[in-house]
């Protein structure tokens, strides 16, 4: 892809068009609008392609299991002939594989995810019933990650010497604690030891729900709190050495204002980049955390459905999580140019 640096299009003698002085001329240049549209379209095309390929992988994974697919789908149960006939009809097992795929994918696009064997309900209904708990858990974890991660990173970056070393070592240790170990440690400390928070269940609405979700959200977020803090710290350290920060400081701006307007704003890019990985990690780890804390969310449903050999549900949840991950990554790619205009749409040379 050919890229054009803003400076390269300026007139050779350094003078710009009189109506649009300086570098701003390039932004309003006619080519840029179409380039942005092409950039967005390209990203959306890649998104669609990835989702399509992922759906193929998820659907045809079932064909890796040797033997009768009807008996695979009814494992762990003692299937009567009617049940076998029913599952054959429901999944269209007597049809060609590509036809089965089209049926499934068509259903998925229309919100028909098949039927759950254990719940004897539509998979979409089971999923929708479980979704709020998972979303609340992930949202609370995201709040902890943003607040604690940013604060730790900023404090570490602004304190040289012992403070920085101390926070860095703590972060390295915290980043190495797997979420389920963090869950056990938090339960030992805050539930069994201090009795501040419950160790099990989702609680009923409002304040109780928040109290029940606090420990799970902390356990879920610990790896990413450390990650965001480290990225923030190094990103800010890089910015602090830049000339524009020095200029801002020498002009007599207060430290807080320099940090907020000149350091943090420019440091956001790398932090945003990791957020795609973060969402996928949160959704996947939430299965472990929900199972540990007995929260009735999507993650616990995934674990239970694997345990109860309910493949239609497993397939649906895997597809949902992968889609969420791919979607978030695309959104991050799309808003990156808005935050940092240097990564102008269509001129990504990162």
């Amino acid at each position: 892809m050919t890229t054009t640096h803003p400076a390269a299009t300026a007139a050779p003698d350094g003078t710009a068009a009189p109506d649009a002085p300086g570098g701003r001329r390039n932004r309003t240049a006619p080519g840029n609008g179409t380039r942005a549209v092409v950039f967005v379209l390209k990203k959306l095309l890649v998104l669609a392609g990835t989702l399509f390929a992922a759906s193929l992988a998820v659907f045809f994974s079932r064909f890796l299991v040797p033997g009768d697919p009807a008996r695979f789908l009814l494992r762990g149960r003692s299937p009567k002939p009617e049940a076998l006939a029913e599952i054959t009809r429901q999944f269209g097992l007597d049809k060609a594989p590509w036809e089965q795929y089209l049926n499934w994918a068509g259903g998925v696009l229309h919100g028909d995810w098949g039927r759950s064997l254990t719940y004897r309900q539509d998979v979409s209904d089971v999923l929708l019933g479980r979704l709020p708990t998972t979303l609340q858990l992930v949202a609370l974890a995201a709040v902890f990650i943003t607040v604690l991660g940013l604060i730790a990173g900023i404090v570490a970056s602004l304190n040289k010497g012992f403070g920085d070393r101390f926070i860095l070592v703590t972060l390295t240790a915290a980043g190495a604690v797997p979420p389920f170990v963090a869950a056990i440690a938090l339960v030992a400390l805050f539930s069994v030891g201090l009795g501040w928070f419950p160790s099990f269940g989702s609680g009923d609405g409002g304040w109780e729900r928040l109290r029940h979700l606090t420990l799970p959200a902390l356990a879920l977020g610990i790896t990413y709190i450390a990650m965001v803090a480290r990225v923030t710290r190094s990103s800010m350290n890089e910015q602090l050495l830049r000339e524009h920060v020095e200029v801002a400081t020498s002009r007599g701006l207060t430290r807080a204002s320099v940090v907020r307007r000149h350091v943090l704003r420019n440091a956001v890019g790398p932090i945003l980049t990791v957020s795609g990985v973060l969402v996928a990690g949160l959704l996947v780890s939430s299965s472990i955390i929900e199972q540990t804390f007995g929260l009735a969310g999507i993650g616990q449903l995934l674990v239970q459905s694997i345990d109860r050999l309910d493949f239609a549900v497993v397939q649906a949840i895997v597809m949902v999580v992968v889609s969420a991950f791919v979607l978030v990554n695309t959104v991050v790619d799309l808003i990156q140019p808005l935050i940092d205009p240097r990564i102008a749409a269509g001129t990504e040379t990162r």
Partner: protein, 285 residues
């Protein structure tokens, strides 16, 4: 007047100066844990499955150095034997994904044509499946135990190694020694596998060391939620799950020891991996 020559140190001394004291400590800890797991049948004081109901939830004492669990089983012995399953999985995953990732990355980085493009797309697709999720899908297909998650995670970690290798190869291709081999007419496979690949191994190895920690944690988590190693086989993740009842009753140690070992090993391999990549990065720049 004496003439001093700066000769590059060779062999083990070179690596000695390459690693910081912290990395040496991490290396020692890892070696100790691996040895304890390998020699568990000879070193462990008790049978890890020996139930002693007269001696449940005992604290550390002369007979049981780390105490006993809710069934009176010796925690030290269970941790030593548990290390065998807990370390075996990540070892297979890291070896498999490193080998496959190196080869695919070399192929993708070396080719200008469609091979590189297609492989790049495949890596992208694999990146959209988080390792733990792929492992769960695999367990749903092939059943609980170690086989299914090990298979899935090996595949899931291939793109991490391959993408790194690809980038390194693209940079390496333009270096004079590769050009020289080409001009001299050496065959491509010999140059790639014999001359380029050895230069990539330290960097890729650093990534693989980090991967080892992630895989260990993920496999332990799967055992913890009952989808991985099945009881009564001792495994660190499964031990933590078995100890939850005791934990809620106020007995912390049976859950603490396996959790401590998991974190210890993950920290140790992270320190080694980061140290390696720092040093290599410093050496190159």
């Amino acid at each position: 007047m004496t003439l001093t020559l700066q000769l590059p140190q060779t062999g083990i001394r070179r690596y000695g100066s390459l690693l910081s004291p912290l990395a040496w400590a991490a290396l020692l800890v890892s070696a100790a844990v691996v040895l304890a797991a390998l020699l568990a049948p000879a070193l462990a004081p008790y049978d890890p499955d020996y139930v002693d109901l007269n001696n449940v939830l005992a604290g550390p004492n002369a007979q049981h150095l780390l105490g006993t669990d809710a069934l009176g089983r010796d925690l030290l012995s269970r941790i030593m034997f548990g290390g065998r399953t807990a370390l075996l999985g990540p070892t297979i995953v890291v070896l498999g994904s490193t080998a496959a990732g190196l080869l695919l990355g070399l192929a993708a980085g070396w080719s200008d044509g469609w091979t590189g493009k297609v492989l790049g797309r495949v890596f992208d697709l694999l990146f959209s499946f988080p390792a733990l999720l792929l492992a769960m899908l695999s367990i749903a297909l092939f059943g609980k135990g170690l086989f299914a998650p090990i298979l899935a995670m090996t595949i899931a970690y291939v793109p991490y190694v391959a993408r790194l290798t690809q980038g390194l190869v693209v940079a390496e291709r333009t270096r004079p020694y590769v050009q020289a081999y080409r001009v001299l007419g050496f065959r491509t496979p010999w140059v790639v596998l014999g001359r380029v690949m050895p230069n990539l191994i330290p960097t890729v190895g650093a990534q693989s060391a980090l991967n080892f920690g992630y895989v260990l944690a993920d496999l332990a988590a799967l055992s913890f939620i009952g989808l991985g190693v099945q009881p009564p086989t001792s495994d660190w993740g499964a031990m933590i799950e078995e100890s939850r009842g005791a934990l809620l009753g106020g007995y912390v140690l049976p859950a603490f020891w396996p959790a401590f070992v998991v974190v210890l090993v993950v920290v140790a391999v992270n320190v080694i991996g980061e140290e390696l990549s720092d040093r290599i990065g410093g050496k190159l720049s």
